[in-house]
């Protein structure tokens, strides 16, 4: 087990030598191999990674070019450069689910189902959708496995800054420099409709923020408890319920907020400020008087955060450079932060101490993503002919079903790892009955279709014999009957 941090820069100014703009994927806990990704300069939130195994990919929306660079895990140079209609400022992925109704649902009367089957993930595996925000404010939705551009939507008045999806893949949330947050149903964005120009409206529009929205976070709860955390240059953090789109609480901070990350169990918010501080806001706190744990916010409250002069819940490493991106480790005890100067560090949340400094990038840090990985022996085998993705289309799909042709691979069943000796012995003993004359195990339907040559000949011989005998009998009988007739005639005459 290892945790890997992927991060990439946003190059500042008009640097021609983009080759230097390396993105990195580095393990946190060990000092081993660092993967680099060349020419990976993006706008903030403009890069996404699918994982850290063979066949996983990194998508990078190039800054300053209408291109998406696609890297395969382990390679430094982009494997594919896919042209897109315009420069994209942010990207997000929608993953295809692995579970079926039978998996997530009501099992047997026993809690752990014994016969649960796991198929291996296929080697060729790409997410379902790639959604990008264009610099003009449009949202582009591509189906990655077919390359189809499913929809283009004029969404924001200025460039979108961040795109996120809910854990159940039902909503896409987009936020932009125009201070608006739009919530979209993903099913609307992807629906084929050949009949007429399809009209897609956002499911909800949030326009509470007064300045550019810099970052968002959506927790991974079920739809009923899904929450959206937004931060903006207007120094507020707003928390919404994504189920009924209500504003749950507003936190007012002194200073511009650049980035946010939330504990996986919703216990604390971490924000990166423009003054270089990372501030921790606990969402539950023990009341000093009664020692009862209490929740903060909710029901539309507005809470103003007091200055933390004692630096009890502040990490000051990055000051005075703005903290551009934040991410948390798997156990929520380490925070990974990147600043405008290109520094990326891992800090311990409890002690507020920096644990590790990662390799610096040139320019400001545009993305940080933490991935858990588990390396197995199979992963070391390098697949040579990894199939390339289809290029992304630049024209909207016609909605004709036949157009949808997906590149797809279904995973093989997992090899039986252990031989179930007891089941096998059961089979042996049931078969043994046959030899003891206790059962008449008969062949299956197809067992003895072909009769052997000897048998057929035998049958033929017997058949002939039978025919002969039957004929002889018939002859004899007719003779007898004639005789009998004669006899009766004689009797009658008498």
């Amino acid at each position: 087990m290892e945790e890997i941090v992927f991060y990439n820069p946003e190059s500042q100014g008009e640097e021609k030598s983009n080759a230097l703009n390396l993105g990195y994927a580095t393990p946190i806990h060990t000092q081993t191999n660092v993967n680099g990704f060349r020419q990976a300069s993006t706008y903030p939130n403009g890069a996404v990674i699918t994982g850290t195994k063979q066949g996983d990919r990194v998508f990078v929306a190039c800054k300053g070019k209408a291109l998406i660079h696609v890297y395969t895990w382990g390679k430094e140079a982009p494997e594919q450069k896919i042209p897109v209609p315009e420069q994209l400022t942010c990207l997000t992925l929608v993953h295809n689910k692995e579970e079926n109704v039978s998996d997530v649902d009501l099992g047997q009367d026993f809690i752990f189902e014994e016969n649960e089957e796991f198929t291996k993930l296929p080697k060729f595996k790409i997410p379902y959708l790639l959604i990008g925000g264009g610099i003009s404010g449009k949202l582009y939705t591509w189906e990655l496995s077919s390359g189809l551009l499913l929809s283009v939507k004029e969404a924001h008045y200025q460039a979108p800054t961040v795109l996120k999806t809910t854990a159940d893949n039902s909503y896409l949330v987009s936020a932009g420099k125009d201070a608006r947050i739009l919530v979209w149903k993903i099913s609307d964005l992807v629906a084929f409709d050949s009949t007429e120009e399809k009209i897609i409206k956002p499911a909800h529009v949030i326009s509470d923020h007064s300045l550019e929205i810099t970052d968002m976070f959506i927790n991974n709860n079920i739809a009923q408890d899904s929450k959206l955390y937004t931060v903006s240059k207007d120094s507020t953090i707003r928390v919404y319920s994504l189920f009924n789109f209500q504003l749950l609480s507003t936190f007012i901070v002194s200073g511009i907020v650049e980035s946010i990350v939330v504990d996986s169990a919703d216990r604390a918010i971490f924000i990166g400020l423009q003054n270089g501080n990372i501030r921790q806001i606990d969402l539950y706190e023990a009341n000093k008087a009664s020692n009862i744990l209490e929740a903060k916010g909710g029901a539309g409250r507005i809470l103003t955060l007091a200055e933390d002069h004692e630096l009890k819940s502040t990490i000051t490493y990055h000051a005075p450079h703005p903290v551009k991106r934040l991410a948390l480790s798997l156990d929520g005890s380490l925070i990974i932060s990147g600043d405008e100067k290109g520094r990326v560090v891992v800090s311990d949340i409890v002690s507020k101490q920096v644990v590790k400094e990662l390799k610096e990038v040139t320019g400001s840090v545009a993305n940080i993503q933490v991935l858990s990985s588990y390396q197995t022996a199979e992963d070391s085998v390098v697949e040579k002919n990894n199939r390339a993705m289809l290029p992304l289309k630049r024209v909207i799909a016609s909605g004709e079903l036949k157009e949808q042709e997906v590149i797809f691979q279904k995973g093989m069943d997992q090899d039986q790892e252990l031989f179930n000796l007891d089941d096998y012995l059961q089979r042996v003993s049931s078969e043994a009955l046959h030899f003891e004359g206790l059962s008449s195990v008969q062949s299956n339907a197809f067992g003895n279709v072909a009769t052997s040559g000897d048998n057929a000949a035998m049958v033929k011989v017997l058949q002939e014999k039978n025919d002969k005998v039957t004929k002889a009998y018939a002859d004899l009988r007719s003779m007898y009957e004639e005789l009998y007739k004669e006899h009766t005639k004689l009797l009658e005459k008498k």
């Binding site: 379902y128 992807v190 919703d266 604390a268 009664s290 539309g300 005890s333 079903l401």
Partner: protein, 761 residues
């Protein structure tokens, strides 16, 4: 406890195998691999030759004995390296040997081969030395003896075809001939499902490499396009669709397809292939022999199965799958329905023939649903784009009757189409799982009605009783005649008396699989569709609660499935629900962890941050009680444990360390972290006057909290009353009772004092 049989004993028993000792020997050989690894060279060759002798013996029992030994020994690498080749050769010989009829021997020979091949596969030099020289012989033997036991051979051969494709290549044509013969078998539709699926899958895998002239020429016409490994695969898919289209076009002669212009258009748009190779021979359908008509749907069934095999089988590399085309085929099959397209007039008059045609069309529809479900289960979100199309086509399959302006489901026909409807329900569940945002609930409502119908007890007597009542009705009009009739009928009905008097005894419950499919559907509806009409929601609640109660009273427990459904009812309330079923569910499910957590919400355990703070607070309160001091020490210990952090530890260690320390400190903390306090604790606090009871003066309580914490509240919403816990709407009643009990506690004190004072006076 290992029961090790010494090798000398094993070797001697292998001389004279007896039924009694096989199990022991197999167990020993499998679980004590050290027994074999430690053998001397001579003993090892002795063992291998014994096994070989057994396989080659003339006695069937000995052979069978030997075959099982091989299946277990195949797991041992030492045996494989020294004797693998020899054993494989004798196994091949046995497969080819036609002198015995016993299927058991043949089956086990095939399985033994596959066991050895599986264990060798992937190990480079073993493969080179043992497997490669024998592989083509194995494949030849299996294909030559295909008919001896189709199921086993298919299983082994498909595995080889998939993983050793290049060696299989020379045999592909031979294998294809055998498979095509099977597919063309008139009884193919009556084979069991597993075998049908296996045949189709094997047929699909044939096209993994085979690059016939056709494929290469097709690639050549697209000039400059490099031939891709999946060209043959794709071509075959299009051929199947083409064949399917031709079969469906047969319906033009039977039903009035021209009535629906859309279907014709769609059929034609499926595309046409030039000189495509057919898998199947021609169908001969004769309207005078109505049973031949059923061939159409059988052929449709085989073709959809094949199509599904091509599109949903696991493959060694990624393929281009014409998903849109397949969805189109499936929806087209479903949309040909006799509820909307009439049977041709000339056949409609003969009611028997008309019925057969209707039945056949319904079968074809069902095959479409099966294909669709397979696609949704495999491709999942890739199907989302066409989900609205799929929903509307699935609606067609549910039989309805029109009464006035309202469509109602047709009960009798629904029951007839049970298995088809279950497929529809399964497919819809899968789709809803992907996307709960649907605009048209009509399909869901119809399916809920149909599901509830399927869940009812069925009696074959409804019609019978109706008939009785009908004939009984005219009795009052003509008395004399009626009496006569009555006598006559009674005579007929004597054997039927049971049915009339104890009709309940003839009722049949729905099968387990029906209940499971429908329950899954209900669960998905409850979880994903919070906006369904309240009357349907009530129907679901009524069913779930009554079934659970019935089950509880009959068996003393509620099945896991129903427990889940009950929990879901509480956890996923409907948007229009103005009642609360928490109390019912809580009563039905005592000692349930989910409901207990819901009614007594706890805040998440905090990281060490809070422990530190608590520690400092304890320092302030130190003089209070000795007991608390003890706790304090515990806490200090855990907090110290928490602090050191080295960057060199691995994540696993890290997690380990953290979980142990958190749990340890949790137990110490529990009374402090609890949301609700016990009465005595509350009283103590009240005495200290550090906190007023929240319910009595909510505003002061919340104000106080904010003065204490670092927060300053800008506005206090009117509704914000109790800050102790974030409570969901459903939990409200339980909280109220909790508060009440607290109130009772404080109320109770007052009267006691009063009485005392009275007495003294």
């Amino acid at each position: 406890m290992s029961v090790e049989v010494p090798i000398s004993v094993i070797l001697s028993t292998l001389d004279t195998p007896r039924p009694g000792n096989l199990q022991y020997i197999l167990k020993t050989l499998y679980s004590n691999s050290s027994l074999i690894t430690q053998l001397s060279k001579s003993e090892l060759s002795h063992l291998i030759s014994r096994v070989n002798n057994l396989i080659q013996s003339k006695d069937e029992y000995k052979r069978w004995y030997g075959l099982h030994l091989v299946q277990v020994l195949a797991f041992n690498p030492v045996i494989l390296t020294t004797g693998g080749a020899a054993i494989l050769v004798s196994l091949i010989k046995l497969v080819n040997d036609r002198s015995y009829d016993n299927v058991l021997l043949f089956q086990n020979a095939c399985l033994a081969i596959s066991q050895i091949v599986k264990n060798i596969r992937g190990k480079p030099s073993l493969t080179r030395e043992v497997l490669t020289p024998n592989l083509s012989n194995i494949i030849a033997a299996l294909i030559d003896n295909f008919e001896r036991d189709v199921a086993t051979v298919l299983q082994v051969a498909t595995d080889l075809l998939l993983r050793n494709t290049t060696t299989f290549k020379p045999f592909i044509n031979k294998f294809e001939v055998k498979l095509t013969a099977l597919l063309n078998n008139a009884n193919f539709a009556t084979f069991d499902d597993k075998l049908q699926a296996a045949v189709c899958k094997a047929y699909a895998y044939l096209n993994l490499t085979k690059s016939s002239n056709q494929a290469s020429s097709a690639a050549a016409t697209n000039s400059n396009v490099q031939a891709l490994p999946d060209d043959q695969w794709r071509l075959r898919i299009f051929q199947i669709v083409e064949e399917l289209k031709e079969v469906v076009q047969l319906y033009e002669n039977l039903i009035d397809l021209s009535a629906d212009a859309n279907i014709n258009k769609q059929l034609l748009s499926l595309g046409k292939l030039e000189n495509s190779k057919k898998i199947f021979g021609k169908l001969s359908v004769d309207v005078n022999d109505s049973s031949t008509i059923l061939q159409i749907s059988q052929r449709v069934g085989v073709l959809t199965r094949l199509l599904a095999a091509f599109l949903t089988s696991a493959t060694p590399f990624a393929l281009r799958a014409p998903l849109g085309l397949a969805i189109k085929v499936a929806t087209l099959l479903i949309s040909i329905s006799t509820s909307y397209i009439p049977v041709k007039r000339e056949f409609g008059r003969e009611s028997g023939l008309g019925k057969v045609i209707q039945l056949d069309v319904a079968h074809s529809q069902a095959h479409g649903v099966v294909l669709l479900r397979a696609l949704v289960e495999t491709y999942k979100f890739n199907v989302l784009s066409s989900s609205h199309l799929i929903f509307s086509s699935l609606e067609v399959i549910i039989p309805v009757t029109k009464s006035g302006k309202v469509f109602k489901i047709d009960d009798a026909r629904c029951l007839n189409l049970e298995s088809e409807l279950l497929q529809v329900i399964g497919a819809v569940s899968e789709l809803l799982q992907l996307n709960g945002h649907i605009s048209d609930f009509e399909v869901i409502y119809k399916l809920i009605d149909a599901s509830l119908l399927l869940l009812k007890k069925r009696t074959p007597l409804d019609e019978l009783i109706d008939k009785q009542q009908q004939s009984a009705a005219p009795q009052g009009q003509g008395q004399g005649q009626g009496k006569k009739n009555k006598n006559k009928r009674n005579k007929d009905a004597t054997p039927m008396s049971d049915i009339l008097s104890h009709s309940a005894l003839f009722e049949l419950s729905p099968s387990k699989s029906t209940v499971k499919t429908v329950s899954s559907f209900f669960a998905i509806v409850i979880r994903k569709l919070n906006k369904i009409n309240i009357s349907y929601r009530i129907k679901l609640i009524k069913y779930i609660v009554s079934v659970s109660l019935k089950q509880y009273l009959a068996c003393g427990k509620i099945s896991h499935m129903n427990v889940k459904l009950l929990e879901d009812l509480v956890l996923y309330p409907n948007d229009f629900e103005n009642f609360n079923n928490l109390a019912i569910v809580k009563n039905l499910l005592p000692n349930n962890q989910v409901l207990s957590l819901l009614t007594n919400p706890r805040f998440p355990v905090l990281d060490s941050k809070v422990k530190q703070r608590l520690e400092s607070q304890y320092a302030d309160l130190e003089e209070e009680e000795e007991q608390q001091e003890d706790e304090d020490e515990e806490l200090a210990e855990t907090a110290v444990e928490q602090l050191p952090h080295t960057s060199n530890t691995t994540l696993a260690e890290e997690i380990d360390r953290r979980t142990t320390s958190t749990t340890a400190s949790n137990s110490a903390n529990t009374p402090m972290v609890e949301v609700f306090k016990s009465n005595s604790e509350l009283k103590k606090i009240q005495e200290q006057q550090s906190l007023t009871f929240a319910k009595e003066e909510p505003s002061t309580a919340s104000k106080r909290q904010f003065q204490d914490s670092e927060m300053v509240e800008d506005s206090i919403p009117v509704a914000a009353a109790n800050k102790k816990a974030k409570l969901e709407q459903q939990t409200a009643p339980t909280t109220a009772t909790a508060d009440q009990s607290d109130d009772e506690g404080s109320d109770f004190e007052m009267p006691v004092i009063d009485i005392d004072s009275d007495d003294e006076e």
